[in-house]
Symmetry: C2
Subunit: 203 residues, 2 copies
Amino acid sequence: MMQQHKKRDKSKKRATILDGAIDVFIRMGYELASMDKIAETAGVSKRTVYNHFGSKENLFQVIVDDFLAQRQELKTIAYDPEKSMEEQLLAFAYAEIFLINTPRRLGLSRFLTMTFLKDIDYARETVAKYPPSYGMFIEWLKEAENDGLIRSENLLVTARVFYSLVEGAITWPALFTDDVTQLHFEPMLDEIIATFMARYGSK
Amino acid sequence: MMQQHKKRDKSKKRATILDGAIDVFIRMGYELASMDKIAETAGVSKRTVYNHFGSKENLFQVIVDDFLAQRQELKTIAYDPEKSMEEQLLAFAYAEIFLINTPRRLGLSRFLTMTFLKDIDYARETVAKYPPSYGMFIEWLKEAENDGLIRSENLLVTARVFYSLVEGAITWPALFTDDVTQLHFEPMLDEIIATFMARYGSK
DNA sequence: TCTTAATTATACTATACAGTGTAATTAAAT
DNA sequence: ATTTAATTACACTGTATAGTATAATTAAGA
């Protein structure tokens, strides 16, 4: 103890390395992303990468956890009786769209999807560290149902239908698109929400 | 010429190698699937693998083309005024489900999805060799609309909604499931079709 | 049975990459 | 200005893999 003398701020270098690593992972995929290439892209020596992250696998893990934590934040949306159904459903959809509507976030989503597909046991364990994905939306549905705005015999099924529409029409197609800036989601979004309300809206 | 004397049947060995290769690709992914491992799994010498397929990349390409050709066959469904809407929509859905309802086909679908995500330019070129994916369904929609059973302002959008529901609720969740034999698609399928008809069915 | 196409076993080349060791250098905090 | 935590440059180890070369072996077709 008594020796808090020196202790420099490593967070900047750490962020630089993460930036470069994400860049290389997006461009080359996990296997072909070499630690040499990551160091070079980050403008940092390879030794520094290892000093900060220990191993390639751990570096990857940090990126995954950061992404999933941010994703969880986005999903936090509360029911608001002042707003229209359509407006609020759009908000849930935009939480998904945010993850893919810049080239960088789209690349990261694509990369993580790949790695999750490569090892689905790992994927399940990792995702399990966060709250259930439909949780927030089901809570919202409950309140909308109490207000008589939604009719549903099974809220989980209803939530799955909603996310099927959003992911099937927006997220997955985007993952296979190279230039996401050219995509215009709005027409499809309106159609999705109209479809959802045709089935579950009361009146 | 005049020497069709010897010429043995290589198709059996070829199929054996493809089987083993698919197995290893599914288990390890493209990068980690070594040609030694593929040869060993197929029960064949590595030299024979190279004699048949020339390179790892070409071996992979053959597997992709085989899969996509089979996929195209499945989608060939004609409108039948004798059958109910629900029954025919189910047929389109089952063409998708067929690709994922055994562990082997699911593994192959997952593997191909991964490789397509890794190089979406390659994916686009490869998929472009086959007819447009919604083509068959749009033809079907036209006839159903002419019979007054479907109302749609834009058949392409309607087709996209249908496939969003099927892929979002069935295909993609299955890709992240390890034991597909435990999945029961029927309840979700019924809900999907009810949702589609709530939006696009006329009365 | 004979011919030879196909296959095998084995050794080999060239290359790439994860991770380590270390001495020298840099720069932040006091 | 001094201290020393952090970083760098660079050489190095061990391992893995795509693809090739070749001589010996196998087995199908005539």
